[in-house]
Amino acid sequence: MAYQMNFAPVMALAPQLFEGAFNTLILSGQSIVAGIAIGVVGAVGRTEGPRWLDRAIGAYVELFRNTPLLVQLFLIFFGLPYIGLRLSANAAAIIAVALNLGAYSTEILRAGLQAIPRTQIEAGLALGMSRLQVVRYVVIVPALRIIYPALTGQLTLTLLGSSIASAISATELTAAGARIESTTFRSLETFLCVAVIYIAMTFTFRFIYWLIGLLLFRRKAPPKPSLIADISEISRVGV
Amino acid sequence: MSALHINEIQKYFGALLVLDGVSLDIAQSEVVAVIGRSGSGKSTMLRCINGLEKIQAGSIEVAGHRIGPQGGDLRSLRKEVGMVFQSYNLFPHLTVLENVTLAPKVVKGVGREEAEAIAHDVLRRVGLAEKSGAYSDELSGGQQQRVAIARSLAMQPKVMLFDEVTSALDPELTGEVLKTMEELADAGMTMVLVTHEMGFARQVADRTVFMHKGKVWEQGPSEELFSYPQTPELRNFIAPNLK
C-alpha cells in the first residue's frame, strides 16, 4: 500500500483536539440554551398567541428549516456586516446554530403541547390543582415525555451540526482538526480521531439523556402511541 | 383415510409447555370444534397445524405433507390448509377482489382471469359478490370476516382452520359469519374451529374436543360431549353455558 497510517503526529497535538472538543461543547451548549429558549417562546407563541404571531413564527420556522445551516452561517457571518453588524466567528456560529435549533425545537415542542388534550388540563383544575401545578404535572412532564425522543435526537443533531462552524474558522473541534491536518498532513488519521471524539461525545450525551429521562419520567419509558407517530417524529428533526 | 393427522405434538414457548402431546385424527368432511379455557392452547394448536408455530415433538400430516420438529415442506402444507383469524387480517391496501386473488395468482400461478373467476365464485358463496371493489375499511366486521373466509377458500384448501372468528364481532354480526361457516360444513369442507359459541359447536360440529392444560382432555360426538361430560373439568367448563 502506498500509504501507511501514522497517528503519532496527530497524537502529539492531542491537546488541541481536546481543546477543540471542549470548545464544541461550549459552543453547542450556548446555542442549545438559546435555541431551546427560542423554541419555548416559539411553541407557546404559536399555540397560545394571536394569529399574526403564529404566522410570523411559522415563517421563521419554515425559513430556517428549509435552508442549509451553512448558508445561514454565511449570511450571518459575511452578510450581516453589510448592514452594519459585525460578529466574531464564534458569535456568528452560536447565533446561527441557535436560530436553526430554535426553528426545529419550536415545532417539536409545539407537537408536545398539542398532544395534551384540553380535557386533561380541565381535569387537573377540577381536582383543585393550582394553574402552576397543572402546568407542571399535567402539561410539561407528559408533553416532554412524548417528545423526549425527538427532542434529544434534535440536540444530538445540533451538537454534530455545530461542526459546520469550522467553515468560518470558529474555534471548535472540526476546525481544530482542520488546523492539525494542515500542519501534519495526516488527513485521514486526523479526521478519524476527530470522528472518534464526536462519537464519544454523542454516546456520552445519549447516556445522559437516558438518565435524565429515567429521573424525569421515573417508572415507565415514554409511551409509544404508535410506531408511525414515531416515524413522523424522527423526520421532524434536522439541521 | 384421515384428512388431518396430528400425532403427539409438543409445543414450548421458552420453558412453558403449551401443547403436551396432543393427538387428533380428523376425517374427510368432518367438522371438529375445539373448546377450552383461555390459555389452554387452542390457538397454539391451530397455529401449529398451519406451521405458523414450530413444534418441538410429534408430527402433523395433511394431504401427504408432513411437518415435524425439523420443519418440513411448510408451503405445500399451507396450500392445503386455509386459516381464518379472529382479527380478519385482510390486506388493507388491496380491494376485496385483490385480497382474494392474490394467493392463487402468486402462489399457484393461476392466470388473472381464472383467479378472478375463482374469486367471484367464492365471494358469491360468502354472499359478498357485489363487494369485490371495496376496501376493507369500507366493510363491516362481519363482511370483513366473510372476505377472509373467501380469501382462504380461493386456495381450494383441503382443511380449513378457524380461530374464534366471531369473537371480535358485534353480536348482531356473528350470525352471518356462522351461517357462512355452516354452509361450508354442509358443502363437505373439513374444518377445525376454535370457538366460544357452544351452541354453534353443538349444532354444527360432528365432534367436539375439549382442551385443558395443553392436552386433549376429553372428546366425542358433540351432542354426547355436551350432554354427558365425563370429566369434572369439562363439566365445570360448560356448566355456566348450559343455564
Binding site: F74, G79, I231, G238 | L52
Partner: protein, 218 residues
C-alpha cells in the same frame, strides 16, 4: 468575470443549484437503494447482520456529516483511489442518507402489524412474496411523508460538500462572493434558491404525513 451582483450572478447561482439538484438526486437514488437493503436486512436478516447494521448506523449517526465527507474524501485517496470531488461528495452523502433513511424505512416496515405477515404466511406466500405484495406496499405508503421530509435534509446536506470544493449552490455562492464582495446579496439569494427547492417538499411531506390511509385515494 462577474464584478457586481446582478442578473448574471443569479444565473451563475442557478447553474450551481442545478448541481445541487443533481447531487441530491444521485444521493437519494444511491442512498435509497442501500437504505432499502439496510432496512430489510435489519428487520429480516440473521441476527449478526442485524447487529452489524445497527452498530454501523449508530456510529455514522454519531458523526457529523462534514467529518464523514472529509473521511471519504481522504479515505479514498488513502486506498489509492483518486476521484474527482463529485465521487467523494456523492459517496459520503450516500452513506449518510443510507443510515438515516434506512432507519426511517425500517420503522415503516415494523409499523405494519405482525398479523399481516401471518395472514400472508398462512396463504402460503413465500417470504419474498409477503414482502412484495403485502408488507412493502403498505410500508411504502406510510413512508412517503417522512421520505419526502428527509429529501429536504438531503438537499440541505449537499451544501456541506462545498467545503471540499465541489461547486454546487453554496460553493457557487462563495465564489460569487469572492468576485463581487456583496455577501449579503449573494447569500440571501442562495438561501432563497434553497428555500424555493425545499419548501414545496416540506409542504408536500406534511400533507403526506397527514394522509395516513393505507389504501389508495379514489
Amino acid at each position: 468575470m462577474i464584478r457586481s451582483f446582478g442578473w448574471e450572478s443569479v444565473e451563475f447561482l442557478i447553474r450551481g443549484a442545478g448541481w445541487t439538484l443533481l447531487l441530491s438526486f444521485m444521493t437519494f437514488v444511491i442512498g435509497g437503494c442501500f437504505a432499502l437493503i439496510f432496512a430489510l436486512l435489519r428487520t429480516l436478516g440473521p441476527k449478526p447482520v442485524r447487529l452489524a447494521i445497527a452498530g454501523f448506523i449508530q456510529l455514522v449517526q454519531a458523526t457529523p456529516l462534514l467529518i464523514i465527507v472529509f473521511l471519504s474524501f481522504y479515505g479514498l485517496s488513502f486506498v489509492g483511489l483518486h476521484f474527482p470531488p463529485m465521487v467523494g461528495a456523492g459517496l459520503s452523502l450516500a452513506v449518510y442518507t443510507t443510515v438515516f433513511l434506512g432507519d426511517i424505512w425500517r420503522g415503516c416496515i415494523e409499523a405494519i402489524p405482525r398479523q399481516q405477515w401471518e395472514a400472508a404466511d398462512a396463504l402460503a406466500l413465500t417470504r419474498m412474496q409477503q414482502l412484495r405484495y403485502v408488507i412493502l406496499p403498505q410500508a411504502f405508503k406510510i413512508s412517503l411523508g417522512p421520505t419526502v421530509g428527509f429529501m429536504v435534509q438531503i438537499v440541505k446536506n449537499t451544501s456541506v460538500v462545498a467545503l471540499i470544493g465541489f461547486v454546487e449552490l453554496t460553493r457557487a455562492g462563495q465564489l460569487l462572493n469572492n468576485m463581487t464582495f456583496q455577501p449579503f446579496h449573494v447569500f440571501l439569494t442562495v438561501a432563497a434558491i434553497y428555500f424555493a427547492i425545499c419548501y414545496p417538499m416540506s409542504f408536500l411531506s406534511e400533507r403526506l404525513k397527514g394522509n395516513r390511509h393505507v389504501r389508495p385515494a379514489h
